[in-house]
């Protein structure tokens, strides 16, 4: 902006940069603290390596077996990402008619609730039986887990449109369709976004459960085999990759959602 503003912005930029420094350092501090706790546990319990391997051993496995780990991680990541989008798409498709037509809501809501009463673990063998050992059964598993949080969050957002906006739109002579596309849908996007964030965090669980039950690829498959051969460092290496992937995926999704919904109160820039 203009040069007169500079002293003002400079004065304010010091605490801001400090905050930014802390923001960048915080994840590093957390990771270091967790690894330190892990190491302390190993020393204090004196657990054998086949029960609780020390961080250094797991790091060595990560490096020396990176080719195997990477090969299997590709499958899990693909299953998770495809499952995430399939589940979110299905959730969106279910939420909109439920919000628009009350009969659909009355019939679909109990079915949704029943679907949540089924333990997903119990469903995994069936999905493998029906959809085979390949990607399809794992994608279905991830999509099923994601479907519910996305549907419920989006439906809730659509059902809670600010009544003042609806009144205004009514006096303006809005059609039902335009009311949906121009007011109710955009107004529900922040709710959809929070459902999608939750879904992002749980999506890998679905894929890994699917892999445990029946597969020939993926980190879940690798973990199961390593566990059977008492290669616990390998199990931990898989877990670390899953963690890193989940967190990365969450942050990417969060970034995209914030950029797409700049009017969301929590993503507004701090006041001047």
């Amino acid at each position: 902006m203009s040069s007169q503003n500079n002293p003002h912005t400079n004065a304010k930029s010091i605490p801001l940069s400090e905050r930014r420094w802390l923001k960048l350092a915080r994840p590093v501090i957390i990771v270091v603290a967790l690894i330190a706790t892990w190491q302390v546990l190993v020393i204090m319990t004196g657990a054998p390596k086949y029960m609780l391997p020390p961080p250094a051993d797991v790091w060595n496995t990560l490096i020396s077996r990176h080719d195997v780990l990477f090969d299997h991680a590709r499958y899990t990541i693909a299953e998770t990402v495809i499952g995430l989008f399939a589940g979110a798409a299905l959730g969106t498709l279910a939420a909109i008619p439920m919000a628009l037509f009350s009969p659909v809501r009355f019939w679909l809501m109990p079915i949704l609730l029943v679907s949540q009463a089924i333990p997903f673990f119990a469903l995994a063998p069936l999905l493998v039986l029906w959809l085979g050992f390949g990607l399809a059964s794992k994608i279905a598993m991830a999509a099923l887990i994601i479907f519910f949080p996305v549907t419920v969050a989006f439906f809730d957002g659509l059902a809670r449109t600010e009544t003042g906006w609806l009144d205004l739109a009514r006096t303006m002579g809005a059609s039902r369709w335009r009311l949906l596309t121009h007011i109710r849908l955009p107004a529900a996007l922040p709710a959809f976004a929070s459902g999608f964030r939750v879904a992002t965090a749980v999506a890998p669980i679905g894929a890994v459960i699917g892999e445990w039950v029946g597969s020939s690829h993926g980190l879940g498959y690798l973990m199961l085999h390593a566990n059977a051969r008492v290669q616990i460092d390998m199990v931990f290496a898989c877990l670390l990759i899953l963690c890193a992937f989940s967190i990365t995926q969450y942050f990417i999704v969060d970034r995209i959602l914030r950029a797409a919904l700049p009017w969301q109160p929590d993503s507004l820039k701090p006041a001047r």
Binding site: G164, A169, R170, A174, R178, H182, W263
Partner: protein, 257 residues
């Protein structure tokens, strides 16, 4: 750049019909908010509705806007024989700006919701008239409370409806901004039939050609007080001050009883 005082831009079509409300009744549950209520809004007149909180002022306004559902009866007729529906513009205490649309996009909302092509030029003129030209591209989060209500006023004017219903539109503003917006509203709404609900007697007397007090349960309308002179009236005008005292007495008696 743009002359905000220029009245030829974004001018509003004057209203040429009276609105008669007769035998209006609204009940929530078993309690009548009001029944057998009659009110006439003369063509192009500015009517203010005062009363204690919860008496049903907003309900009466929303009734006219066709926004009250449920246990409702009564007749709304217009002296030109047409129905009132789709001839009212509504402005509430909250600005009701959509946070994802810019000021200009909010002003053009009505046309978009009806599937019409918005008149960008007119929108810009009206935004200039309410003094928001420099903020037209901003989202509501960047605006002050006063600017938001100005944007809401421009959106109301953009509809160019013969009857404008306003529900405490300035009550959330600080006193200075409130006076400014009253002046602006009086100027830009001249010629329209306006019903303004307020709890501020001074606001009612500055703007209204007729000021009604709504009181009691079920609520009844008192005879109108008619301040002299053209609006917006001076706040220090002795006639206004005397009438304000009278209105406060009426409202106070209502609250005391």
């Amino acid at each position: 750049m743009r002359n905000t005082e220029q009245t030829s831009v974004g001018t509003q079509n004057p209203t040429r019909f009276d609105v008669h409300l007769s035998g209006a009744r609204v009940a929530f549950g078993s309690a009548d908010i009001f029944h057998d209520l009659d009110l006439t809004l003369k063509a192009g007149s500015f009517t203010c509705l005062l009363g204690p909180s919860g008496v049903g002022k907003s309900t009466l306004l929303r009734y006219l806007a066709g926004l009250v559902e449920g246990d409702v009866s009564g007749n709304i007729t217009c002296s030109d024989g047409e129905i009132l529906k789709n001839r009212v513009a509504y402005m509430a205490q909250q600005d009701l700006l959509l946070p994802w649309r810019t000021v200009r996009e909010n002003v053009e909302l009505g046309a978009v919701l009806r599937g019409e092509r918005p008149d960008h030029k007119r929108a810009e003129q009206l935004i200039g008239q309410v003094g928001l030209t420099d903020a037209a591209h901003l989202r509501p989060a960047k605006l002050s409370g006063g600017m938001k209500q100005r944007a809401a006023l421009a959106r109301t004017l953009m509809e160019d409806r013969p009857v404008v219903l306003m529900d405490e539109p300035f009550s959330a503003l600080d006193p200075v901004n409130r006076l400014r917006l009253q002046e602006l509203a009086a100027r830009v709404l001249r010629g329209k039939t306006v019903l303004l609900v307020t709890h501020d007697p001074l606001e009612a007397l500055r703007l209204g050609d007729n000021v009604h007090v709504l009181s009691g349960t079920p609520a009844t309308l008192q005879d109108a007080i008619t301040p002299s002179g053209q609006s917006p009236r001076e706040i220090a005008d002795p006639d206004i001050l005397a009438k304000q005292a009278e209105l406060l007495r009426q409202l106070g008696a209502e609250i005391a009883s």
